[in-house]
Symmetry: none
Subunit: 219 residues, 2 copies
DNA sequence: GTGCCTATATTTAGAGG
DNA sequence: ACCTCTAAATATAGGCA
């Protein structure tokens, strides 16, 4: 940030360097996928964890409110950050729940939307799965699908027919999506190796022998 | 780069510049203290909350591990983000503690109970959880979107397409889906607000008969 | 592992729809 | 409210101590 025009500030040790040669590579863009090198991954974890802590504290400072954060490192070590403390945040959550105060209004309405978004998230999860990301999202999906009496959530008053139409269309989209996902998945099974580059042109023969069981069609 | 003579005057030598006018002020530095203006604070809260969600998901993607995050907005509404889910993280924390595993921060225990109860009695957490993911995923998907006429998607034969084409189609579907969802959301919000009474019972063609009390949504 | 450094990549404040 | 746009502020990858 401080780096002004000529970028010659790295010579702390009065060692003269080539004047117009870059001292470092600067921040390089990295692919958003699991870092394979153990060492790099650990370093990145540390740095980014700090970054998140900072963001969290800034959010609290700027906007007030409370925050609690727990992170398990790839090696399983737990870290946490909280303001005023994880404890306080957790207790407040309990208190709100017990008194049914702040959460009741927030909960009642989003119920419908929760269901809606649940279904959307379903799609996202499949999408991610196709690209080899967020494999464990499925766990959450499962848990969420256990939501009590989802059907009751749809009794909300709705202002018009067009909404139903939208819902119907939504449903169709989901089916189509699932179908396409299936096909993609099948192809992927046979050309998995080439699929790291998302814009790589990967084409395969047109039919798949098996592997349809790989992808359980839901929704 | 270096914050040179800021904004207002872009004329280095005190004469009129025709094309040098800045279109916006760009990101301005702000003091790290509570934002007083209600509106600004709310906006900043939203933006930064999304930012943190993204950072969290990136951390998980790059490094693996698990993360659970709970935020109370200044007005007391709870938000959360978790991977694989807040519940999983909480349970893991509990497990670690039960087995006496090395806990770098033991203060987080109550969060476990909090989330258990939340999950049972209140969908708000799930809602926010999903919302966070949705926002994050939406950005990922946005990068390569080009939406053809929706109708073409419906009739499109799946069989003859390359993997690339299928992937592209997926993205279109995602976007379409999100768009429709937004419309539904808006309508629901509006209608729910206007039918803000308890036990409003308006049945929709295909689903359950009654709903519980509904309240307006706010941050 | 932590901390510093630079050069970039990313985030986001502010203003408009 | 939520999205877009832009320019400036931050975060951070890759190195080194």
């Amino acid at each position: 940030m401080e780096a002004n025009t000529t970028a010659t500030t790295y010579n702390k040790s009065n060692h003269k360097q080539k004047h117009n040669k870059k001292q470092t590579k600067g921040k390089q863009k990295i692919e958003m996928k699991m870092i394979q090198d153990d060492d790099d991954r650990l370093i990145t974890f540390s740095k980014r964890r700090s970054g998140i802590y900072k963001k969290a504290s800034e959010l609290v400072t700027l906007c007030g409110g409370e925050i609690g954060l727990v992170i398990f490192s790839p090696s399983g070590k737990p870290f946490s950050y909280g303001h005023p403390s994880v404890d306080v945040v957790a207790k407040r959550l309990l208190l709100d729940q017990a008194t049914g105060a702040a959460t009741s209004d927030a909960a009642a309405h989003p119920i419908v939307e929760a269901h809606r978004r649940l279904r959307i998230n379903n799609l996202n999860q499949q999408y991610n799965d196709l690209f080899g990301h967020l494999e464990t999202e499925k766990e959450k999906q499962k848990e969420l699908l256990k939501m009590p009496a989802p059907d009751e959530l749809w009794a909300a008053p709705i202002e018009g027919l067009s909404l139903d139409e939208l819902n119907e269309r939504q449903r169709c989209l989901e089916e189509l999506h699932a179908t396409i996902s299936n096909h993609v998945k099948e192809r992927l099974t046979r050309s998995l190796n080439s699929f790291n580059n998302k814009d790589k042109n990967v084409s395969t023969p047109a039919t798949a022998p098996s592997s349809s069981s790989l992808f359980s069609k839901r929704i």
